[in-house]
Amino acid sequence: MLVSLNNIIADIGGGVIFFKQIVWQGLTKPCRLQEITDQTWKVTIQSMSTTAMAGFFVGGISTIQFTMQVKQFGALGYLGGLATSGTIREVGPLLIAFMLSGKVGAYTSAELGTMKVTEQIDAIRCLGANPMQELILPRFLGIISSSFFLLVAGLLMSVLGGLLMGIFFAGINVHEYLRHIPTIVAGGSVLSGLFKCFVFAVVLATICTYKGYSASGGAKGVGKAVVNTAVATMVGIVVADWLTSVIGDSVTMVYLGM
């Protein structure tokens, strides 16, 4: 028990130090813009279809759930606004993070882990390059920037999914569904969603690059790194969600003078 707790603390410490190294690398010797755009394109294309599909169904589910609630109060007109607000503030960023975690997080961890155990990273160092600059930083920034593109795509699809459910399940028309979206989805909701999306992407990018880069012990070590990445990113994202919610609520209360 104590040993595993010790390992978890050491792992978190290692991740924080690794994050610091990435930030330092980015500030002192950043990578080329082309490398970041390549990674962003790769990650976005890899995950676009699954994110869009998941967004569509999540939007639909939100609408179904809200329909049951708002019908009781005869407030079906607010259905679109409520479902969209919930998706933008919470479900959207969380969904994108989980999607990226399962697909890009595991892929990045396996790719870097394989490079580590087959001595490709050592070779990069011996050939006069810096692996942090050549490998880690472009992937780290690529995951973060692509998460915003995926968030937008996922949210648009969720609105579409919600709209279709609104029409077929709740029986309201397009105009009625869209009418209260601008009034309920305020700037704060959008900012909150973007902030959460950024924090989740940073957590995910740090964990998957760290786990891959520190893999050792051949194929078994790579497998272990991928499993650890999946577990750590899920836990990390949920903890980050809780933290950002607490911080967000506190900031809102201070802002409103409550």
């Binding site: 087959t118 001595e119 490709q120 050592d122 070779a123 990069i124 160092r125 011996c126 050939l127 006069g128 390059a129 810096n130």
Partner: protein, 242 residues
């Protein structure tokens, strides 16, 4: 010239190198033999700064490098080319780009025409032609090893470090690689350290052989000296080739 003075390397409570001292003279081929897990690869990685010694001194061309930073090691890695146990080629790059990689990083002033000529020359040194546009996955393991060798010599190192260069190869390719190590070392006049457990090859091409056991140097000398050694481990190695 490479010199180790009482180098100790520990990982946690495990001591891998226990005060290793030796010298590799300019232009010689030094084989480091030993069974698996005796610290041969760790020794090589200490030379190029992939690992740092716990204590002791490492001298390269008159400079003590053991406390060098990653940036300071850049200069040393330019001089010491390392061929890894795995081919360690970059999967996403072509053979040409793999060989050109080190030139671009170590010698950024090199023009594209010069890089092209250098890559072709290095590939021909390892007897490879017409594979420049192939990806590593499209060529055999033996060819990958030779591309790895070409990539290392492409930056014009004065010292070559080979980490078990023939592991996992068939006997024919093993002989070809061993011959290449000998030819390249003589042609490029490099100091070559070859980590291996192939006594047959060591006796054939080494100028000197050093035997490492449990992190300590137990025997050192010319191939002839080794043949007359009384060390049980050396005798075991010699028995294998009889």
């Amino acid at each position: 010239m490479i010199e180790f003075k009482s180098v100790v390397k520990r990982f946690g409570d495990r001591t891998i190198l226990k005060g290793v001292s030796f010298e590799a003279k300019q232009g010689e081929i030094l084989f480091i033999l030993g069974t698996s897990g005796t610290g041969k690869s760790v020794l090589l990685k200490n030379i190029v700064g992939l690992l740092k010694p716990t204590s002791g001194e490492i001298w390269i061309d008159g400079e003590e490098v053991s406390q060098f930073t990653e940036n300071e090691y850049f200069r040393i890695r330019k001089k010491c080319g390392m061929v890894f146990q795995h081919p360690a080629l970059f999967d996403s790059l072509t053979v040409f780009e793999n060989v050109a990689y080190g030139i671009r990083k170590h010698r950024p002033e090199t023009t594209e025409e010069e890089i092209e000529a250098r890559v072709k020359k290095c590939l021909s040194l390892v007897h490879l032609h017409g594979i420049e546009n192939k990806k590593p996955a499209e060529i055999s393991y033996g060819m990958q090893k030779r591309v790895s060798l070409a990539r290392t010599v492409a930056v014009d190192p004065t010292m070559l470090l080979f980490d078990e260069p023939t592991t996992g190869l068939d006997p024919v390719t093993t002989n070809a690689i061993n011959q290449l190590i000998f030819d390249l070392s003589r042609e490029l006049k490099t100091t070559s350290l070859v980590v291996s457990h192939d006594m047959h090859c060591a006796l054939d091409i080494a100028d000197r052989i050093m035997v490492l056991d449990k992190g300590e140097v137990i025997e050192e000398g010319t191939p002839e000296d080794l043949k007359n050694s009384e060390q049980p481990l050396v005798k075991d190695f010699l028995m294998e080739i009889v």
